[in-house]
Each structure stands twice: as C-alpha cells, then as structure tokens.
C-alpha cells in the first residue's frame, strides 16, 4: 500500500481507508518495484508499507511538528528533521535510497515491468530513457508539492507520472499500485499477494504506532543514511523543474502497458477516448478543478492519452471511473469563523476538565496525603519509562521488512483497493505576503500646466521704465507735506505754549501788582488801626483821670465835714477823763488823805492790839483757874454760867474788863464769846451796827450755855 501525499493546491491526502471501510480483498502486497510477491517481498513490502505508513505518519507528524517550513519546503527537506534517523533512514531507504538506487532499481522494476509488459507486448521503456537516469532529478518529492516518501518513491519509480498534474500524479501513482496490484492480480491472485495483504494488515497495525526506532537495519545504518540523506537530495535539487517536464513523460510509458494489461480489472476499467489529446485536456481539467471524483476519471482518461503517443493507440476505459472514496469526515469547516480544531464542545465551564478546581494555593503542596508520595511517583514514572522502552525494544525486535538490497529502495505502496481521502487533518498552508518596507511617499511631481496663451514680446528702451518726476512725486508729497504738517503742528504747539506762558506771565504781573496794592493797602490799614488804637488808649486815660479827680474832690469834702465835730468832743471826753485836773486838789487827794487814813488806822489798831492782849491775859488766867478749879472741885457743877450770862446779859452794852473776866471764868466756853464780845465791843466804835447783831448772838450763846 502506498500512502500518498497530495500534490498541488488541493492538498488532497489520500490514505487507505479504515479497517472498517476497507474492502476485504485479498490483494497481495506488491513491492513497489512490481516484483512478484515473494516471501521476502511481503516483508519488504510490509516494510515498505510500514515504512510508507510510518513515513506518512512521520510526514504528518513531522509536518505538524516541523512547523511551517516543512510543509512548504520540498519534500526532501522535510524529511531531514524527522524524529528518528531510523525513520529517516527508513524513509530514505524508501525514498532517498531509492533515488540513487532508483536509478538502478528503477530500471529493474521498470525493466521488470517493462519485461512484464514486454511480455504483454508493450514496448519496453528503457531505463535509459528515464530522465533521472540521464541525470535529471528523480526526487520523488522534490517538487514543491508536499510529497511524501511514498510519492517520492513512486515518482522515482514511475517517472512517467505527469508532474504538472498534481492530481494526476497521485492518481497515477495510485494507478500504479493499483495496476501493480492489478498486475499482480493479473499475474495471479496468488498467495504472495494475499500474503502481502495479511502482512499488510499487521503492518498496518504496527504502523498505527509508528515505530520509534524504525527498522533495525535503519538504526544500524542510520549514520550512513543520514549522511547519505543530504547527498541524494542535493542531487535531486539540481533539476526540480525538470520533474514536471520529466514526469509527464513517465506515465504514458508505464501506464498504457498496465492499462492494457488490466483490461479485465474492474477497477482500472476506464472509458478511454481514442485520442490522446482528448485525454490530456480532460485530465488537466480534472486536475484544475480538483475534483476527486473526476480525478480518477481524468487521470484515467488522461493516461491512455498520454500513453498513446508513446505506446501506441492503446486506450483504456473504465466501467466505473475510479475515484477516491469520499471522505466521510469534513475536511473543511463550513465557515471561516469556525476554527478548524478538534471538535469543540461548548460545555459548561463548571464541568470543564481543563479548569482547575479547588484551592489554587494548595496546588504546590505536592502529592496529596492520600496519594503516593513523590518517591512512589518517581517509581511510577520510571516504570512508565521502562514500559516505553520495552515497547520500543519490542518494536525494534519486531520483524520488519529487511533493508532493501543495494541499489534498491523501499517504497511504500498502497495495496488497498480503495483509496480513501484522508481528512482527519486539514491541510493548512501558511501563506505569507510581505510588503515592501515602508517607503516614503514620493514627492508629488510638480504640476506644470501646459502653456497657454500668446507669447508677446516687448522692448523697453532707455528711460521708459523710470520717470523721475513721477517716481519722486509721492516722495515729495510725503516729504513736503509731512514737513509742512509737522512744522505747522510744532509751530502751533510752540505758539500755544508761548501764549500760555505769556498769559501766565501777564497774569503773574497782574497778580504781583495787585499783590503790591494789596500790601500797601494792608499796610495802610495797619497804620490806621494802630493809630486808632493809640487814640483810644489816650482817650481812656483821660477819662480815667477825670474820674479820679472827681472822686478825690468828693472824698475831701466828705472828710472835712465828718471831722468838723471832732474837736470839741475830744476836749470834752478828755475833760471827762480827768485829764484836765486841779493840781492842788489832786495833791490833797492823793497825798494827804491817804496819810490821814493810815494814821487813823494805826490808832485804831493800837487800841485793838491792846484789847487783844488783854484778852489773852484773861484767857490765860481763866484757863488756869479753870484747870485749878477742875482739879479741886470736880463736881463743881456749875461754873458761873450765869456770870457769864449775866455778865454779858446784864451788861450788854457796857463791857468792861470785869465783864471780861467774868465771862472768862464762868465759862471756859465763854472766852470765845467773850472774845467775840470784846471784839464786838472793840469794833463798836466803828460798827455799831455790827455789834448789835453780834451782841445779840452772844446773848443767845450765853443763854445756850446756861
């Protein structure tokens, strides 16, 4: 089975159908070279298949992995970064190795085929006629199409595949294996084919998981293959363009014999028109349109056309035009807006497994307690790794198709009956366009309008341009006018100023004159005033004097009158005061009379004194007598009170000394009264009046004593 990558814009990929879809036809595996299925071949074929599948898978993966450059790049480059050199090797072996060996080997299958064909009466296309034998590029996937190893190998094998017809090529390629198969079939649906198929199946199975290491042989020679990888593809780079040229030549050579041989094959039955030309356009049309359904037909129709000029007039018709099984899967999304991804289920975010639930801070805490600890995890990982390694080893040990013989190349060939369009992955091509770097907007070209109008010439003579008088007129106007105006203004100003000043001066003059006048008047006034003052003052004084004088006069008169009576009164009062006395009289009064009085007094006093002395003598005597009497006669009851009384009483007036003695002897108390009486009597001369009351009292006393 051959897995082809689509060529051309359609990027149709065709793959063998699923197991489910697969038509269970016991088709023998066919070595790409068309060799009869041999025990070796199945393996190889299977290997090739494997390889092919693997290559396809790898191609796919690589294309996906490698990224953009890979799909665009020519097939050979795409294979370089492939994951495993073994795979590459396998691929290379399938493809690249096939390239140099293709030349040698191509001849063989071609020859073989040719031989086969020859056996059928087809003309043998010499290998030498192959373009790549001539040195042209035979790289299968060299052209810009996305060609896998299968394609490359196929192309290498079948150089007659028309290059420009991308559709045609795959179809043709398809055709070839089919034809090969058919051929095989035609040869005989013998065991090998059948064996091939079963072998294919397990191979297919194996290929589901592409072998990591590829064939052991690949590993062994990986170095060589890798090294060799670059080489062969370099060579093919020489003439990629020659491919298209080369290729178209290929199919006709191959196909017509196949076609012719496969008449009884139902699949490869096609309605072939007689003319080659007819075929070509239809093929082309079909390729242009890119319809899968027509492809087969187109190719089919074309093939015989192509083949006819080379091979003769063989035509091939189909009962039913071979066509690819329509892919059940949608290859292109219905709308651009719908992204071409895995089917997106618009589900509830709550139930989206991609959303982390739970703590975000606890994510780092390592393995949960319920789960095994890191050691366990590590062990598990190791176990996984070991399992993987084991698997790989098993893969390696798995019997694979042996490496191709020197000079040969393994190619993956599709041996399935049906071709199915692979549509699990939408082929995407990145196209880019680069605009030039920003350029500055170029400057707008000058717009020079076309010249219109009439050309007129004139000649200026001397003195025509400039007329002094005319030119100078405005200047003069300004000059003179301005001058006059300015001077007028200035004169006016000056005049005004001067007038002002003049008026001011005149006024000042006037003012000063007036001021002088005023001053004079003022002065005059002042003088007047002073004069007036003086006069007034004078007058006042005069008046004052006058008044004074009058007052003086009046006062004098009054005083005179007042003092007129003064003198006589004075004399009178003096006289009354005794100031005017008679001196003799005064002398008498003053001198004589006092002396007289004194003399009188003295005399009187003598008498007094005498009496007093007498009294005292009496008293003493009396006292003594009394005391003597008391001593002698105590109880003399009576003293001579009557003496006393009688004495005084009897004689009142004439008091003599006797009486005195009596009284003094009679009465001790009597002396006192005696005395008194004496006194009284003494003073009788003088104060008779006084004696009488005294006497009276004395009498009373005497009475009392008694």
């Amino acid at each position: 089975r051959l897995f082809l990558q689509s060529l051309g814009p359609d990027r149709l990929r065709y793959r063998r159908p699923n197991r489910l879809n697969k038509a269970p036809t016991p088709l023998p595996t066919l070595d790409v070279w068309g060799a009869p299925p041999s025990p070796e071949d199945p393996r190889r074929a299977s290997d090739g298949r494997v390889r092919a599948q693997g290559a396809r898978e790898r191609a796919d993966t690589a294309a996906q992995r490698g990224g953009s450059p890979q799909p665009k790049v020519k097939g050979r480059r795409r294979w370089e970064p492939r994951s495993s050199p073994g795979r590459a090797l396998a691929r290379n072996r399938a493809g690249s190795r096939g390239a140099p060996s293709a030349r040698s080997q191509l001849t063989s299958p071609g020859e073989r085929r040719g031989g086969k064909r020859n056996s059928r009466g087809r003309p043998l296309r010499n290998a030498s006629t192959w373009p790549w034998k001539n040195g042209a590029h035979t790289s299968p996937a060299e052209p810009d199409f996305k060609v896998g190893t299968r394609t490359a190998s196929l192309l290498a094998q079948f150089p007659e595949v028309p290059k420009p017809d991308s559709l045609g090529r795959p179809l043709l390629n398809r055709r070839r294996p089919r034809r090969g198969r058919a051929e095989g079939r035609s040869q005989g649906p013998d065991v090998p084919r059948g064996a091939g198929l079963p072998a294919k199946t397990p191979g297919r199975k194996c290929l589901e998981a592409p072998p990591p290491g590829g064939t052991p042989g690949c590993w062994a020679t990986k170095a060589g293959s890798s090294g060799w990888l670059g080489v062969p593809w370099n060579q093919p780079s020489v003439a990629p363009t020659s491919c298209p040229g080369n290729l178209p030549s290929r199919p006709p050579s191959f196909l017509p014999p196949l076609l012719a041989s496969r008449n009884p094959c139902p699949w490869h039955h096609a309605h072939v028109s007689g003319s080659h030309d007819h075929l070509a356009p239809t093929c082309l049309k079909a390729s242009l349109h890119g319809k899968r359904s027509d492809r087969a037909a187109g190719v089919a129709s074309r093939l015989p056309d192509r083949s006819s000029p080379a091979m003769g007039t063989y035509t091939y018709t189909y009962t039913s035009r071979p066509r690819a099984l329509p892919c059940q899967r949608r290859r292109y999304r219905d709308s651009i807006t719908q992204p071409a991804e895995e089917p997106m289920h618009y589900g509830n975010i709550m139930y989206d497994r991609r959303v982390i639930r739970g703590n975000t801070y606890a994510l780092q805490m390592g393995p949960l307690p319920g789960q095994p600890d890191p050691l366990e995890i590590q062990r598990q990982q190791q176990a996984k790794r070991r399992a993987l390694a084991r698997k790989r080893a098993q893969e390696q040990l798995r019997p694979r198709t042996p490496e191709p013989v020197e000079g040969r190349k393994h190619v993956d060939v599709q041996t399935e009956i049906y071709l199915e369009e692979i549509a699990d992955r939408i082929i995407e091509v990145d196209v880019e366009c680069q605009t030039d770097a920003f350029l500055d907007r170029p400057p707008t070209p000058l717009f020079i309008p076309a010249k219109t109008g009439k050309d007129v010439a004139t000649q200026i003579l001397e003195g025509e341009l400039f007329d002094f008088d005319l030119e100078v007129k405005p200047m003069l106007e300004v000059l003179v006018g301005k001058t006059i105006e300015q001077s007028l203004l200035e004169v006016m100003e000056e005049e005004e100023l001067a007038n002002l000043w003049a008026s001011q001066h005149a006024y000042e003059e006037l003012r000063s004159a007036e001021l002088a006048e005023v001053q004079r008047l003022e002065e005059q006034e002042r003088r007047h005033r002073e004069e007036k003052e003086r006069r007034k003052q004078q007058q006042w004084e005069v008046v004052y004097k006058h008044n004074e004088t009058a007052q003086k006069v009046a006062a004098r008169v009054f005083a005179q009158r007042y003092l007129a009576d003064l003198l006589p009164s004075v004399f009178d009062s003096l006289r009354d005061g005794g100031y005017f006395y008679d001196p003799i009289e005064r002398d008498i009064e003053m001198g004589f009379l006092p002396w007289l009085m004194n003399e009188v007094e003295k005399t009187m006093e003598y008498s007094m004194v005498g009496r007093t002395v007498l009294d005292m003598l009496i008293r003493e005597v009396v006292e003594k007598r009394l005391s003597m009497y008391e001593h002698k006669e105590y109880p003399p009851p009576e003293v001579k009170p009557e003496d006393g009384l009688g004495g005084p009483g009897a004689m009142g007036a004439p008091l003599t000394d006797e009486e005195f003695l009596k009284r003094s002897m009679s009465q001790p108390q009597g002396p006192l009264s005696d005395r008194d009486s004496l006194q009284r009597t003494l003073s009788n001369g003088r104060y008779v009046g006084d004696m009488s009351p005294q006497e009276g009292s004395f009498m009373e006393e005497e009475e009392d004593e008694q």
């Binding site: 400039f466 000059l479 300015q486 001077s487 200035e490 003049a502 001011q504 005149a506 003059e509 004159a513």
Partner: protein, 218 residues
C-alpha cells in the same frame, strides 16, 4: 548726488538726510514769520542761515496786520526781529538794514520815512532806529516807550517788561527831543519822578507798570 542714469524704481531715489530737518525749520520759520513775499524772505532767511546770522524769524507767530488801513506792515514782532538781527552791534549799516527791512517784506517807503525822522548818513544807532520804529508803532510817546520796553526787555512775554532805566531815559529823551511838542523840562521832571519811584528797587529797572498804567477792566 546726481541721479544715476538708470533708475528703475522709486526706492532708488535718495533723499539727503539733512533735508527734512532743514525743511522743517524753514517751514516753521515761514509759518511763524508769515512773510508777505515768501521768496524774498526765504532768500533772506537762507542767506542769513548760510552766514550764520540771526535769522529773520519771529519768535512768536503774529498774524500779519499789513492791511490797507495801516500803511506799515511794521509790527512789534518785526521790530523784534530786526532787533534780534541788529542788536549785537551798536551801529547798523543802512544798506544792511535796508536789506533786512526788505527781507521782512516791509515796504521800503516806510523805511525811508523812518529814516527821515532822524536823518543819518550811512549808519544809524540801532537804538534810535528802534525807537523810531516804536514810535511808528504807537501813536504816543508812552505807547512807544511801552513798545520799546516790550521789545528790549529780557523778561518773558507778558511779564513786567523791565529795561534798565538808563536805556529808558535815553530813549525817552531822544524821542522827546524829536517830538517838538514835549518840553525838555517836562521830560526831565518826568524822568526824575520815575527815578524816584525806582529808588526803592535795587535793580534800577523800570517796568511797564511804572509809567504805563493799564486800564483795568472793572
């Protein structure tokens, strides 16, 4: 400078920088002086200017009173101009004076008439001429003196026009001498009285107020 042969635009015309100033001064003088014959006067002006003499320009603008009624165009201003021109020297040449007279666009007859009052040969004392002019201005002696005072005074216009008493007396005598009506004795007494009034003042200047009493408007 002479015009270049090829002049193309007005900007090429060159004006001397002093010209505007000269023009202005001339114009102002003309406006102030108001000469009857501008040309004549301008000739006198520029000739005096070129010589460096005092210019025949009135200081104050004075409307010309030269009408038919008054024969003379002589005004105080003109006399002043003349005085300005001639006062620097005592004696003035008659010819020169006549020239100046003419420049002021004054009729020459008046000049002659003036001179006839006090005939002289070639030159005349300027003061006398001035006095004669003043007498021509005013009718009376007093007014002539007034004019004289105003002309001769250094005081600002309108102020007390004071002149030295000597000048005054000199002129007064001269004029009175010329006038036959006035007696000499009167002149002297008048002058003496005037002098007395001036005794108080130290400067010896006599002003208008002393002899000329303005009629005050009541």
């Amino acid at each position: 400078m002479p015009l270049p042969d090829t002049m193309f635009c007005a900007q090429q015309i060159h004006i001397p920088p002093e010209l505007p100033d000269i023009l202005k001064q001339f114009t102002k003088a003309a406006i102030r002086t108001q000469p009857a014959d501008v040309l004549q006067w301008s000739a006198g002006y520029f000739s005096a200017l070129s010589r460096g003499d005092p210019l025949p320009v009135k200081d104050r603008i004075e409307m010309p009173v030269a009408t038919q009624k008054t024969d003379t165009g002589l005004t105080q201003g003109l006399l002043k101009v003349l005085h300005k021109q001639c006062s620097h020297k005592r004696y003035v040449e008659l010819a020169d004076l006549e020239e100046k007279w003419k420049n002021l666009c004054l009729p020459v007859e008046n000049f002659r008439a003036l001179l006839q009052l006090d005939p002289c040969k070639d030159k005349i004392e300027w003061i006398k001429f001035l006095a004669l002019g003043c007498s021509m201005l005013g009718g009376s002696l007093n007014s002539s003196m007034k004019h004289l005072c105003e002309i001769l005074t250094a005081d600002p216009e309108g102020g007390p026009a004071r002149i030295p008493f000597e000048t005054f007396s000199y002129v007064y005598r001269y004029l009175s001498k010329l006038d036959s009506d006035i007696l000499q004795g009167d002149t002297e007494t008048y002058l003496a009285t005037l002098k007395d009034t001036l005794e108080s003042r130290k400067n010896g200047m006599i002003g208008l107020a002393d002899f000329f009493i303005l009629k005050r408007k009541v």
